[in-house]
Symmetry: C2
Subunit: 419 residues, 2 copies
């Protein structure tokens, strides 16, 4: 089986390396030799440590008769979508790691891939075989809920903040110095990367439609040392979670920092590692853990997809032969969960009573409350609340009301609690 | 696709239930309807809560032309092996949860299943799709090491001992009362169940041959409250681990209680849950977690195998089309690891020096040492040692020498340390 690698960066080079290094093993497992024969690059003059013929002429590569499968690792959305569509129209198999392309075009691609293998294991959680687990391993189950730590950069930063007491900016700088975060970290720390991945997993789980813009996405920039303090006091860990649930054919999708209990197994997923908890009606809770990024880890998934193609294994791209469910996205305002609220206020009589009243009038019931003794000469103090399960619309209303009260210093900061 | 269920106990009933309850979902995923049409039972008079025709005539079931796949859930070794062999000779697909049959006959079955799908996901770690992960998800990787918590009964007992301070007998009784342990718990708590599962996983990972009797198997009966005390002091957790490693084409297989560091993610696998850590050359460390037993969890794997068969997906049974490696089992005496030693001795001058000498003469180097203050009127005291990496043969020699020393009360107790 001859393979063309479109995009020969870190992952593409690793794919070539693994196909050569583990050639015998791969042949024994797949039954055929899988040979990387050509790589597409934009800039031929750039030096690359990869043992494969390179070309900057995408059209000639797409026309070659001797290519049996294409690996798309170019990044971007519309350009790779156009190229991958062309390949699928030729009924040639495609393997991709491109989560953004899938987040926007997965159903269009599924239509094109009706008779053609299309692998995208590498698009979510690097080399962890979570797509295969959802499509095949758990295929007997109605999936009820997915909770993932899907962004290694954010998890590295949060782990550092929790364990070493550094603030967000310091942790981000450290992550950038170690190559775990981009110079513009927005895609990772603001939750969009995890949102793309959550959409992909949820499409396999529930056949849900929707674009990244439709879902609730919050990042980790505003988490303060006071939130970390509270988490430690109350036996919580803060993680950037990607959560999807189905109830009454409504799918709830959200990405946000969350408090989780210290004894939740996801609380032990530290540093750049990823993990996905899946809840099904038969198996109940299972969890998948591993490196979510890196050349070799991602290439591990790309090559596994190629081996599946070589074996002739075919599964419908998103797991379904026929559309089963007519599910809809739950409106963000209808999401129900528990909340943590940090409110910076003037330390004077009546403040707590007023806040408690605002909550009660908006159907928010307080579960726990903490006020630290005020420092001498300090005019302000911080109040920490956690609530019982409440409606997103109600907590938003409360935050708005509180923000406009004279004795409240800044906009109250909210973190959701996942139990 | 018509399916016969051979053995309609807890798991068999769950298989029927899931096939019926999730019928539409399964059809959407597999493309066909999967119908359980007949169940084989030994005793027709026994009342069963299952909605399927039952028969006690195995031969007539095996001869039916309208059966497209068989699910073997009878238990035992030789009888099911004979029956499964007959089915495979007819080139009809088989799905089984029978770990003992596979531990002894997996290569013979693989030969018979050359052209016939053979699913056994349910044989290891219940519904966790670990067989699929090893055969397909991680197929790009040279597997280097597997570390599993594969016996839920033992893990439940050890978790209870660690967290609630009860001793082995109390924890076992509680497990039996809750239905987590058999009245004769030997198969679970003495390590044989985990050994069967380890052999299956290791055959997929390294094509290793061998019977359960060939490998190092130790149970958890002799773990005392003093070992728990030491574990807590030194930030360890005790788990019954199933470990396999490959080095220089030698495969090391062992099942034994082990100290693992509290921050190892396996240390968080509590109660009846199972988990498997897999180390590969590309993906490095990944881990798979979930319920290791129970009707629905195990049936989840059985039905997933049936769906794969319905899709027409074929993989070589143990993952290889051709034999790749000529690997051998490492002799038990050549295993190298770190050790913990608990030695009950008369509390008198010269004892520690003598023991230290014995160790040193046998190439055992001490890493840490602990002696608790002796209680008043107590003639004996307990010494706790941990060692640097040593040879199994050497530590066995040391234990033998110490056991025969006058000032040593009982045979010293050893637990391996997995780092």
């Amino acid at each position: 089986m001859n393979v063309a690698i479109l995009g020969v960066g870190t992952v593409g080079s690793s794919v070539v390396k693994i196909l050569k290094k583990n050639k015998e093993l791969i042949k024994a497992r797949s039954g055929v030799e899988i040979n990387p024969v050509i790589g597409f690059v934009r800039d031929l003059s750039k030096k690359r440590d990869v043992d494969i013929e390179l070309s900057d002429d995408i059209n000639s590569i797409l026309k070659r008769d001797d290519i049996d499968a294409y690996v798309e690792l170019m990044g971007g959305v519309d350009r790779p979508y156009k190229i991958v569509s062309e390949i699928l129209k030729q009924e040639k198999p495609v393997v991709t790691a491109n989560k953004a392309m899938l987040a926007y075009h997965r159903y269009a691609l599924q239509n094109l891939a009706k008779n053609t293998p299309f692998g995208f294991e590498a698009s979510v959680a690097g080399g962890i075989p979570i797509i295969k687990a959802l499509k095949e391993g758990l295929s007997a189950n109605k999936i009820e809920k997915i909770v993932g730590i899907l962004n290694g950069t954010s998890n590295y930063i949060l782990t550092n903040m929790m364990q070493n007491g550094v603030n967000f900016d310091e942790a981000l700088t450290k992550a950038q110095n170690l190559g775990y975060a981009e110079s513009d970290p927005s895609f990772d720390v603001d939750g969009f990367d995890a949102a793309h991945k959550l959409l992909i997993l949820s499409s396999i789980a529930y056949s849900v439609h929707g674009d990244p813009e439709d879902i609730l996405v919050k990042g980790i920039r505003k988490i303060s040392s006071e939130d970390i303090f509270f988490a430690n006091e109350f036996e919580y860990v803060i993680k950037l979670l990607a959560i999807s649930k189905i109830e009454d054919k409504k799918v709830e999708l959200r990405v946000h920092p969350a408090f989780i209990n210290k004894d939740n197994i996801l609380a032990k997923v530290d540093g750049v590692m990823n993990a996905v908890s899946v809840y099904g009606d038969a198996l109940k809770h299972s969890m998948y853990y591993g490196p979510g990024a890196g050349g070799d880890a991602t290439a591990s998934a790309v090559v596994a997809d190629l081996i599946d193609i070589a074996k002739g294994n075919k599964s419908p791209m998103l797991g379904y032969n026929t559309t089963l469910q007519n599910v809809k996205l739950l409106s963000q305002n209808d999401i129900k969960t528990k909340y943590y609220l940090r409110v910076r206020v003037e330390d004077k009589k009546g403040v707590l009573a007023t806040i408690a009243n605002v909550m009660s009038e908006n159907r928010i019931s307080i579960d726990s409350f903490l006020q630290k003794p005020r420092l001498k000469d300090e005019k302000y103090t911080t109040l920490f609340f956690t609530t019982h399960t409440s409606l997103e619309a109600d907590i938003k209303k409360v935050i708005e009301i509180l923000e406009n009260m004279k004795f409240v210093l800044n906009r109250p900061f909210m973190i959701r609690i996942e139990s």
